[in-house]
Symmetry: D2
C-alpha cells in the first residue's frame, strides 16, 4: 500500500499556545509535565482538522484513544507568557493504535524546545480494546505523515 | 435543634500535605489555585473519618457534592517541600447543601497561610439537585462543627 | 477625582479559552480550581491591553501582584472542548491594591458559568509591599471599570 | 569501577501517593501527565533518603536537576482515591547527568500501572551545565541501583 509520503501527503498541524503562569515552576521555567498537555492540544487540533473531533468520538461513538506510551526530550526551556507553536504529525495509523509526533518551538526565535511522541490504543465503550471504525480510520489516514 | 456546639461536637480534621514542585510558580511560591485542591483533600479526609468515603458516595449512590461557591484569603505564601496541615471543619449540613471551612498552616512555624471555605450542592444521578440521603446526613451531622 | 464611570470609561476585556482535557475531572466537567487560572488569563490580557504586560512588570520593575483574596460562584459547569469567554473588569486601583472581577460564559449559548473576583497586593523586589509606580497606576486607572 | 550491583547496593525507594480528584479526567481515570509528577515525588524522597534534599540543593548550592528526557509506558489506569506506591531507582550517576527509573503499582492488587524514566542534567547557578559537586555525587552513588 502506498505510504502517506508516496501519496504526497505530509500533513503537519500547527497549534499556538501561550505559556500560563501556573505552568511555570520555581525554577522560572515551564514544568516538564505540561508539555504533555500541549502535545494533547496539538493532536486534538490535528484530528479536528481531519473531521474527527475527539470529544465527539468519545461522546457519540464511545471511542477513546488512551495514551499507552509517551516520551519527550527537553532541549531548551519555555518561559512565562512566551508564544509557542506545537507541530503535530500523525505518523502511524494502525487497526487499533495510532502514533503522533510533536515538536514545540518558541515563536520569537523559532528555537526547538521539546520533541516527543505519544502512542494510543483504540478503546471502545467500557474501555475495551477495539478496532478503529473504518470511516474514522480513513479520516486519520488522510492526515498521516511520513516519518 | 441543638447546634453542634451545644451538643459539644466541634470536630476538626487535620490533613498533612507536602508542597510539590509543580505547585510552585516562577514567583517561587505556591500558585494560589492549588490551595483549593488542598481544601478538597481536607474535606475528603473529614468525610472518610465520618464513614462517608466520597468516592463511594459517587460510585455507589450516585451522590456528588459539586462546589457552588469557594473563597480564600491568602495571608502568607507556602514554598516548595514545606509540610503543611489543612484544618477542615464541616460548619453547615443542610438538606441539599454543605459548607466546609479550612485553615492551612505551615508545620514548621505554625503560621496561618490561607483561610477559606467551600459550599456544595448535593446532586444525584444525572447531576440533578437532590436531598441528601438521611443516613448520609446523619453521618455528616455527627461531624458538624460550630463556626 | 472623577470615577471611571463618570469619565465614561467602562472597560471590559474578553479572553477566549477552550477547555482542555486535563481540566475536566471524573465528574465529566471542569474541576473548580481551573477557573482561577482562567481568571488569571483574563487579567493578564486586560493588563496587556493597557500597555502593562505582567511578565515585564515582574522582570523589569520587580513588581508583582500576588493574589490576597479570591472567590467564585459556580452556576453551571463547563465541559471538555467547549469555547468559553472570560469577561474581566478592573474595578479598583488603589495605591497598593487592585481588584478584578470576572464572568465566564460559554460561547455556544452565552450561559453564565462562573462569576468571581481576585484582589491583589502590590509587592516590589523581595516580595515587600510597595506602592504602585505612578505610571503603572495611571495605565491601570485608564482601564478601571465602574462596578 | 565497581557497579552498584557489584557493590551489592540495590536501593529502591517507595513513596505512597493517593490519587486526588483533579488528577482524574472525564474518562474517569488519572490523566497521563500526572504520573510524571509522581515520578518527581519518588526521586525527591529517594534523594532525601540519601541526605540530598532537593530543595536545599537548589537553595543552598544553586544546583538543579532539570529533566532532559522522560518517558512512560501506561499499562493500566489509576482511579480516584486509590493508594499507589511509586518505586524509584537511581540507575545512573554521571558527572553531569543522572537517570531514575520508576514503577507505579496500585496497593490494593499490586498491579503495575506505569513504568517510566527521567534523565536529568546537572546545572549550576544561572542554569549553566555543571559538574556535580563531589560530595553530592558520592551521596547519590551510595543509592545507585543496578538496572
Amino acid at each position: 500500500m502506498a505510504t502517506a509520503a508516496e501519496k504526497g501527503i505530509v500533513r503537519e498541524t500547527r497549534t499556538s499556545v501561550r505559556v500560563r503562569y501556573p505552568e511555570t515552576d520555581r525554577m522560572g521555567v515551564v514544568y516538564h509535565a505540561h508539555y504533555l498537555v500541549w502535545f494533547e492540544l496539538g493532536r486534538t487540533e490535528l484530528m479536528r482538522g481531519l473531521g474527527a473531533t475527539y470529544g465527539k468520538l468519545e461522546d457519540e461513538l464511545g471511542i477513546a484513544f488512551p495514551v499507552i506510551s509517551a516520551g519527550a526530550r527537553y532541549r531548551s526551556p519555555a518561559r512565562y507568557d512566551e508564544l509557542l507553536t506545537v507541530h503535530t504529525r500523525l505518523v502511524e495509523v494502525g487497526r487499533a493504535r495510532v502514533r503522533f509526533e510533536y515538536r514545540i518551538l518558541r515563536d520569537e526565535d523559532e528555537r526547538l524546545l521539546v520533541e516527543g511522541f505519544t502512542e494510543h490504543a483504540t478503546v471502545g465503550p467500557g474501555g475495551r480494546p477495539t478496532r478503529m471504525p473504518e470511516n474514522l480510520r480513513r479520516k486519520l489516514e488522510a492526515g498521516e505523515a511520513c516519518r
